[in-house]
Symmetry: C2
Subunit: 185 residues, 2 copies
DNA sequence: TACTACATGTAAACGGTTACATGATTGC
DNA sequence: GCAATCATGTAACCGTTTACATGTAGTA
């Protein structure tokens, strides 16, 4: 839990400013819902554990009728832990491969160099996997009489190849864009 | 368990021919390891449950020294259950989106029509999501003075867009290829 | 001597999802 | 009257990962 993606997403949103659990849920749904989902069963235990680790302090705001708003304020310790996570290269084995997008969403809370480093590391891994796909591809020698399994395996290979290429394309575009951005700041 | 991906992968490999748990592990590692991982903690419980549901029968082969090989032979009931799973459109929310590749790997155990249907359904979903990305993209109006968060959100949007395009490209190529294949059979 | 391949399995932990509980307010 | 929004949370379940246990045979 205190080491999982959901934990750090919650922590990262607190790092961007004081929020309640409900705020966190809404923000995730509206801003990163395309590639990341979260449930109450993750948010509220995460907040509890964030408090327990002194990564945030709590202030309760009274409301009329509705339950009290429990607003969390990140501590320096919490902020440091988040920034450490943010710098760590993404786990390239993670299903969906969207941990990178998540970290990039937190880009404004990191340095430009760190964001670029994140993408270049990701790029290297994708380039390597594209190489292996290319190697297999060139050794495939699909003849018209080759077996059915071959043809279907070829399709899955092509998927890996095409997707890896698309990833590389995005990496290059993204790095260029961030560098441009840096020049204007 | 008896409804999970790992369960049906194991069942599908048995559908392709009698195998032991160890065989299954080796085959997954060698043939689909690029996009699907499995552990003993999934294979052996799956086999137990496959036996329990009468989806397979068991024959034990004596070996010299090594533990007995427990070889599983799929039943008609098991085969029917597998084919039903194979036809079901993939869960497009699944992380990694590789359930399709998995099902395509089992293409030789399905009809050409079913394989094509699998891909066209997938294509429709990707086309729809590309449309939403395009809509957001055109409403983005990134001005040079726009805030940092905007620029980073733009990158995640572009990722979705580029990857969706790559998926469509692959779908078209794959469908064409399968249709060609059909002509020659 | 040590590692790899063969071959079976289990137990605990982990991360996440689903579904529920409670309850006021606002708008159709 | 009903749905949606605001706002908190919990409990059970599910699928997967990690790490372990056991043991032989062949190879470097």
């Amino acid at each position: 839990m205190n080491n999982s993606t959901s934990f750090f997403v919650v922590l990262g949103l607190l790092d961007a400013g004081r929020k309640s659990g409900y705020d966190i849920k809404r923000i995730i749904e509206n801003e990163i819902g395309h590639y990341y989902k979260i449930s109450n069963g993750q948010i509220y235990p995460a907040l509890k554990s964030i408090l327990g680790m002194s990564y945030a302090s709590l202030s309760v705001e009274k409301t009329d009728g509705k339950p009290d708003r429990k607003v969390y304020l990140i501590t320096e310790k919490g902020s440091a832990a988040f920034r450490e996570w943010l710098k760590k290269p993404v786990d390239y084995h993670n299903p969906g491969g969207n941990e990178l997008l998540l970290k990039l969403y937190f880009g404004p809370q990191a340095s430009v160099d760190d964001s670029i480093r994140l993408i270049t590391t990701f790029r290297e891994i994708k380039a390597k996997s594209l190489n292996t796909y290319d190697d297999i591809h060139s050794s495939f020698g699909l003849s018209p009489q080759s077996s059915l399994p071959d043809h279907y395996s070829y399709l899955t290979l092509r998927y890996g190849q095409i997707l890896a290429q698309a990833n590389l394309q995005w990496c290059d575009e993204a790095i260029e864009r961030i560098k441009e951005l840096e020049g204007k700041q």
